[in-house]
């Protein structure tokens, strides 16, 4: 495996070593190691059923691997509940939009601020003083995200009625609201048209460059991956078959066979 030049001067944010995950005998991920560097955009690609989503689920604590270690910011991570992962700075979006359907765009993104809000029941009940200040401060932050994602016009609309592309954008906004160190994006551009894809790519790049957020994303559109990603890891049937810069991965015979060759 070639080592990309970045590795030397960027700190490792997350590394997985020999991670294996199985469901009742079926191996979803077998013995995979790779790392994510601070500030990079890391893509995870592979054909359907390659274990990409399981990988994200392992990273944010939704699944617990049977074997292997996960090191997050230099510390080995024990079994971790998803909410703890969230608190430690990992956010994500979902393949099938998992928004809070009963809430508005604004509330959905506000929901992403949950961890940043601390005021207790007493102040919440009165909704004055600290609780309100906190609410307003977070609202301001959320408004900046709304501005960033250019969704001001749907601010007060219930998300259930929004077109798919906008829902994905709201979901990204919700994850952004957590101000994560690592943002996991599960097929952020699935089902989008070209224009929406371009917008989304722009947001991802801006997010990465403006806020320095590290991003790990799963994406099918190879063109998008090649444009966005700093480094790419390729999975197939739960195993890692390539890891490196987009160019390197693209030229790997194994990848061409397993992934591009299959065609889909």
């Amino acid at each position: 495996m070639t080592v990309t030049p970045d590795v030397d001067n960027k700190a490792v944010l997350l590394s997985l070593e020999n991670v294996t995950l199985s469901f009742g005998g079926v191996k979803a991920i077998s013995d995979i190691s790779f790392n994510i560097l601070e500030g990079e955009i890391r893509a995870i690609i592979g054909p359907n059923g390659a274990g990409k989503t399981s990988m994200l689920n392992v990273i944010n604590g939704f699944y617990h691997p049977q074997k292997g270690t996960i090191t997050w910011r230099g510390k080995r991570r024990r079994r971790m509940k998803p909410y703890r992962a969230a608190a430690s700075g990992i956010a994500r979006t979902f393949q099938n939009v998992a928004l809070f359907k009963g809430m508005t765009t604004l509330d959905n993104i506000m929901a992403g601020r949950s961890l940043k809000m601390k005021r207790g029941l007493f102040w919440q009940m009165l909704h004055v003083g600290p609780a309100r200040e906190e609410e307003i401060a977070n609202r301001r932050h959320v408004e900046e995200i709304i501005d960033f994602l250019e969704i001001a016009h749907i601010r007060k609309q219930p998300v259930g009625r929004l077109p798919y592309g906008l829902q994905k954008r709201v979901e990204l906004g919700r994850a952004m609201a957590m101000q994560p160190e690592l943002l996991l994006l599960d097929e952020p551009m699935a089902g989008m048209n070209l224009e929406e894809k371009e917008d989304m790519s722009r947001f991802i790049l801006d997010l990465n460059s403006e806020f320095g957020t590290t991003i790990a994303l799963i994406e099918h559109d190879m063109g998008v991956v090649m444009d966005l990603a700093d480094r790419v890891v390729v999975l197939d049937y739960g195993q890692k078959i390539a890891d490196g810069t987009p160019a390197e991965v693209q030229s790997s015979q194994e990848v061409i066979d397993a992934y591009l060759g299959v065609g889909h």
């Binding site: 604004l106 408004e143 709304i146 960033f148 001001a152 016009h153 601010r155 801006d206 460059s209």
Partner: protein, 653 residues
């Protein structure tokens, strides 16, 4: 006449004392309306200005302003003007090449941009703009990677100003003094006209032009510091400059900037402006969407809507004009106001509108009356960049859809022999920037300006614009033939899509009519009229009958005006095919190519000036797949009896 101050920044300073706590500007930003009162605005501008000076801005420099309606961009005007430099607003939607021309022509040393998009545009052409030294921007998003020497945030400029003020307390006083010493006759802005042909021309306006015009306009409509208006039209357009900047400064009213162009409607509803301007297409679009929406409403509601709109049609305008209306109608209207007009105005965000203007092109009389009948005081004005907007405007209570009103205060008007409208006023521009030739063409040495429009003043003293002066022709009897005027009148009927009028050098006027397929097909369906093709529908006797009624209607209109009475339509035909850009009959922007039509349908035109009742014609057409074919048709020609012209009118002409 109020004694005017010497400059726009001086008005700002006055407002900061006189209306210190009144809101000067609102901007919906990050979900809420941020407000600045006049003293805050003055402070912002002062810091901006002092900082700008520190960047090297000096007397006579030109500064481009690129972007949409943002408070900071509005503040850039007085900030620049108080340095005796000249702001040059540029249309934000122009492509880089267009911008390049303006910036190059103006020789801008600085540019104030809204965001990354505009900055990028300028940076892409910076090698061709040797004069451009630095770019100042408003929104910091995505700007961190740029060269901080060349690309500076407005906030940074203001900080610079702050630092200077910190170091040197007197600088504030000096700045105020400098503002006080600005000369009223100095140029204060260059507005580039978006010329339809040729290069844009930079209209130089002096402080006096703008201030005097603003004072007059405010007085004309009794606008004072309590007004609210929403700024959503391009900054570089003279209208916005006057409505949202100079008039606001002079009167002290507040200007509200919407969150984005997508949210103008919603933002307008939130603000409910009292003073509102929109071009006719905006009103047209709103009306269409009202009608479309109402089609989806329940039966009862729809019935109610149409019923009350009828009521409004009958008495709404008269009530608005404070004419006498019988109490029953008044009550009926009141009811309508409760059920329909009030809520409708509320939805449109026009509940509080005291004065609304439309201008720029002719507005359909039905559309115009619709809004007025709802109780919205919509008026027309006629203006130009060269006049600092106002040439004529309709005074309250003297409204007619066909006129553009009486001359604005201090405006003198005269009609040339060829029908061209000329004017002279305090708002008349200083000249075109670096284009004396054009200045001389437009402005006479004694201060009269050619509008390029033909028109006439009717009995009531109201100006009517009929066409571009160069397009107006003459009938053989010497009568005036304004083709656009006639065409527009017909085009306001919803079932007429396009009209081509003939008459220059002929005995009488005749027209080609293109029916509007959607509208007519709809009508046909409702009336069980069967047709197989456009051609068949166009030739249907009942369609002809309808068109004849329209023509008669227009003739009646024309007959009532001495100057155009002779231009009544005598013969017409309904074209068997739609005029089509693919066939070269229309431009790509869907304007009729007269010349081409004249040649292509020469047979038909000749037939119109003969006794024939029908004429065979065969035309080559291009189908959608690119193939060509021919359409053969025998087109019926109809003759319309002319309306009698009243004797006194004849004599008058």
């Amino acid at each position: 006449m109020t004694e005017s101050l010497g400059s726009l920044p001086a008005y700002l300073l006055r407002n900061s004392h006189e209306f210190a706590d009144r809101v000067a500007m609102r901007h919906k930003d990050l979900g809420i309306w941020r407000e600045w009162n006049w003293s805050e605005v003055a402070d912002e501008v002062r810091r901006f200005s002092i900082g700008f000076a520190a960047l090297g801005l000096k007397r006579g420099d030109k500064v481009a302003i690129v972007g949409s309606n943002r408070p900071k961009l509005y503040w850039a005007f007085p900030a620049i003007q108080s340095c005796e430099a000249i702001p040059v607003p540029v249309y934000a939607d122009s492509v880089a090449e267009e911008m390049q021309f303006v910036l190059e022509h103006a020789g801008a040393r600085f540019a104030v941009c809204q965001d990354q998009e505009q900055v990028d545009k300028l940076l892409s052409i910076q090698d061709r703009l040797p004069d451009l030294e630095a770019i100042v921007y408003d929104e910091p998003r995505g700007m961190r990677e740029y060269d901080p020497e060349k690309v500076v945030a407005i906030t940074r400029v203001q900080e610079l100003g702050d630092e200077i003020i910190q170091r040197d307390k007197d600088v504030v006083q000096r700045w105020s003094d400098a503002v006080g010493e600005l000369k009223i006759d100095d140029m204060c802005v260059i507005l580039y006209t978006s010329g339809t042909t040729g290069r844009p021309k930079g209209v130089m306006l002096s402080s006096r032009n703008l201030i005097q015009t603003s004072i007059n306009a405010n007085a004309f409509d009794n606008l004072d510091h309590t007004e609210e208006t929403i700024a959503y039209l391009p900054l570089a357009w003279v209208g916005d400059h006057v409505f949202s900047y100079t008039q606001s400064l002079v009167a002290g009213y507040s200007v509200c900037c919407p969150e984005s162009l997508d949210t103008v409607t919603v933002n307008r509803r939130e603000i409910a402006p009292t003073y509102f301007f929109a071009p006719p297409r905006v009103f047209e679009g709103l009306l269409t969407s009202i009608m479309v929406n109402m089609e989806d409403a329940g039966r009862v509601k729809r019935w109610m809507f149409h019923h009350f709109i009828k009521v409004a049609n009958k008495s709404g305008e008269r009530i608005l004009n404070k004419e006498s209306v019988n109490p029953f109608s008044r009550l009926h209207y009141k009811l309508g106001d409760w059920f329909v007009y009030g809520p409708l105005k509320n939805r449109l965000g026009m509940s509080k509108v005291r004065v609304a203007y439309t201008a720029g092109e002719a507005i359909g009389p039905d559309i115009f009356r619709f809004y007025r009948s709802l109780g919205i005081n919509l008026k027309q004005l006629y203006g130009q960049t060269e006049a600092s907007v106002y040439i004529t405007a309709q005074p309250d209570g003297q409204i007619d859809a066909d006129t553009v009103g009486t001359p604005s205060p201090e405006v003198e008007l005269r009609i040339e022999d060829n029908g061209e409208v000329m004017y002279r006023s305090p708002g008349v521009f200083m000249g075109y920037y670096k284009n004396d030739l054009a200045t001389a063409d437009t402005k006479t040495p004694d201060g009269w300006v050619h509008t390029g429009d033909a028109g006439f003043v009717d009995d009531a003293g109201h100006l009517r614009i009929i066409d571009r002066a160069k397009d107006v022709g003459k009938l053989n009897d010497g009568g005036m033939f304004p083709p656009k005027y006639i065409e527009n009148k017909l085009k306001f009927f919803p079932n007429i899509k396009e009209v081509v009028a003939f008459g220059d050098g002929r005995d009488y006027v005749s027209v080609f009519i293109n029916i509007d397929l959607t509208a007519v097909a709809n009508w046909a369906e409702r009336n069980n009229i069967v047709y197989a093709s456009y051609q068949e529908l166009a030739g249907h006797p009942e369609v002809y009958q309808q068109m004849e009624e329209h023509v008669r209607h227009v003739n009646k209109d024309l007959a009532s005006e001495a100057r155009v009475a002779s231009a009544q339509i005598k013969r017409f035909l309904v074209l068997h095919k739609e005029l089509d850009a693919d066939d070269g009959e229309l431009t790509r922007t869907l304007k009729v190519r007269r010349k081409f039509v004249n040649e292509r349908y020469a047979e038909l035109i000749e037939a119109l000036y003969s006794d024939k009742t029908e004429q065979f014609v065969s035309t080559e057409v291009v189908f959608e797949d690119g193939k060509t074919g021919r359409i053969d048709a025998t087109v019926k020609l109809a003759t319309v009896e002319l309306e009698p012209v009243r004797e006194e009118l004849k004599q008058a002409s």
